[in-house]
Symmetry: C2
Subunit: 311 residues, 2 copies
């Protein structure tokens, strides 16, 4: 038997999975991410946990194809991370260090890129080789896949879809320092910001004033046909539709896979996004489909394993 | 000896070249493009001309690796063009037809993508595998290369960099039907349009009113430190800098190669573009360099040959 290991390192937990070559799950588990002391424990903990699981699954005699790792940071082509705020890491030779700890081949990628690969392999983008995944979470992340390969770029910063400018008149700043980034409108915090701005000058009765405003409460209000919430969703959809039209004119995808916390509102968000996408997309890109991500939190471990299989 | 043929089909002339595998030119020539009758003569003329040249160069016994062709239209992965206004073509199976005519393997690509490949192989992007070429001509075209491969996309419409939106307030329409496309500001016609708009409300003395306004006359005036022309160049630079910042956040290039007629103004245009690029680029992309294309009209035949070599 030949197997590979997929690892998805997040700020609170590390998700791990052992997969057969065809994607069948042998074992799936998680361990806490210890970010203290510049995250010095993270890689040794991962190595020990994988070794334990190999023993308990009786895989000592099986062939390990390697370990794939997704990290919340840009990753250079030689598996180096130049700092990850979420993990406490400064400069970190992830590939080298984990190879020394495990004695196995290691491949490292950006977590959003890796998740996109997972959705392409076993999720909502299955069977497609030109696919863009957009993750609407705390920020807006993504992975751009062209011809079956994730766009990594020169500095490991390819596919930073949250930081394309969709509003040249914006006066507020994005976390990255720029103004008008897609992330300022399409993320969970972005749509809340849009709702708060709207309420500043709003006199109509609205469900949005009845409870804490969250991405979920906004889309719950949209589903209850709250007029103010529906206008917020239109704004959200317009910024995202415009942003995805730009992405399409560059990468020409067959499908957009939309994931992340905001996407839990369901198909309704796709209708708001695709409406404005259709208005703005270059004619050759209008046929692109919109689907919701289907692997949830497992996309990362699937994609990390797929990196190893594709190498 | 092993050789390949590069063909670049334009609206007035077809450029052709025979290359050795290392890029050494064996022969370079051109023939007119006969676009009458839906361009029915174009491919037979090319086939006959290549055959003649093979004979005159005594290459009958040498190994032909194939023929690469650049076409001014999106091209599907199986070498089909669904219409090219410049050539008069409707639906055209370019690969199949030229293979039947020549008895040789044929690969077909979009001309802007192919030119980008040429600049990467033997021009200003030599040695780089993450490169974006921007062609500022009648329109704004380009090719986006990531990991040494051109982004083609699902419908052959990848790298349509001229149609990313950089101005959501635009009221004029682009040729594609949208509003605010990069092409409306960064092309030869685009910068002339910017200059004309500026002159509508301009009372200062300016060189721009002394002769026909062209991209060349505008940059000549900039070089003469004409204040009005310099403001037009700033606008041009801002739109392009903003557009290239978007491109970088997706493809993360090492270098931007700027070509096309407008780029004949020289290094001065790079300074206007990179100034605004630096203001707007995502931090991880700020190190990207800006250089002028160096192969001129030969980029297409080099890139077409390189397609064959890379297959």
């Amino acid at each position: 038997m030949r197997y590979c290991v997929g690892v998805d390192i997040g700020g609170t937990t590390v998700k791990l999975g052992i997969f057969e070559e065809d994607g069948k799950v042998v074992e799936k588990w998680e361990i806490p991410t210890l970010t203290e002391n510049e995250g010095v424990r993270i890689l040794p903990d991962i190595a020990a946990s994988i070794q334990e699981k190999i023993t308990s699954c009786h895989l000592e005699e099986a062939v390990c194809l390697g370990i794939g790792v997704g990290v919340p940071a840009p990753v250079t082509s030689d598996g180096v991370v130049n700092g990850s705020a979420n993990l406490g890491w400064k400069y970190k030779e992830v590939k080298k260090e984990l190879e020394e700890l495990t004695g196995k081949a290691v491949l490292v990628g950006n977590d959003a890129n890796v998740a996109a690969l997972g959705e392409m392999w076993k999720g909502a983008g299955k069977g497609r080789s030109n696919m863009i995944m957009i993750t609407l979470g705390t920020g807006v992340g993504g992975g751009v896949i062209v011809g079956g390969k994730v766009i990594i770029g020169e500095h490991g910063a390819g596919g930073e879809v949250g930081h394309i400018c969709v509003n040249y008149g914006e006066t507020d700043h994005c976390g990255c320092g720029n103004q008008g980034c897609l992330e300022q409108y399409g993320s969970a915090t972005g749509i809340v910001r849009l709702a708060r701005k709207k309420l500043e000058n709003e006199e109509r009765e609205t469900l949005l004033t009845k409870a804490e405003i969250t991405a979920k409460s906004i889309f719950d209000a949209v589903k209850a046909e709250d007029a103010v919430a529906m206008e917020v969703a239109e704004e959200f959809g317009e910024y995202l539709g415009n942003g995805l039209a730009i992405l399409a004119s560059i990468a020409d995808p067959a499908v957009f896979v939309i994931g992340g916390g905001v996407s839990k509102a369901g198909e309704i968000i796709l209708s708001y996004i695709s409406k404005y996408y259709q208005k703005r997309a270059f004619f050759a890109n209008k046929q692109a489909e919109f689907v919701l991500a289907s692997l949830g939190n497992d996309a990362g471990i699937y994609g990390a394993a797929k990196m190893v299989i594709d190498q």
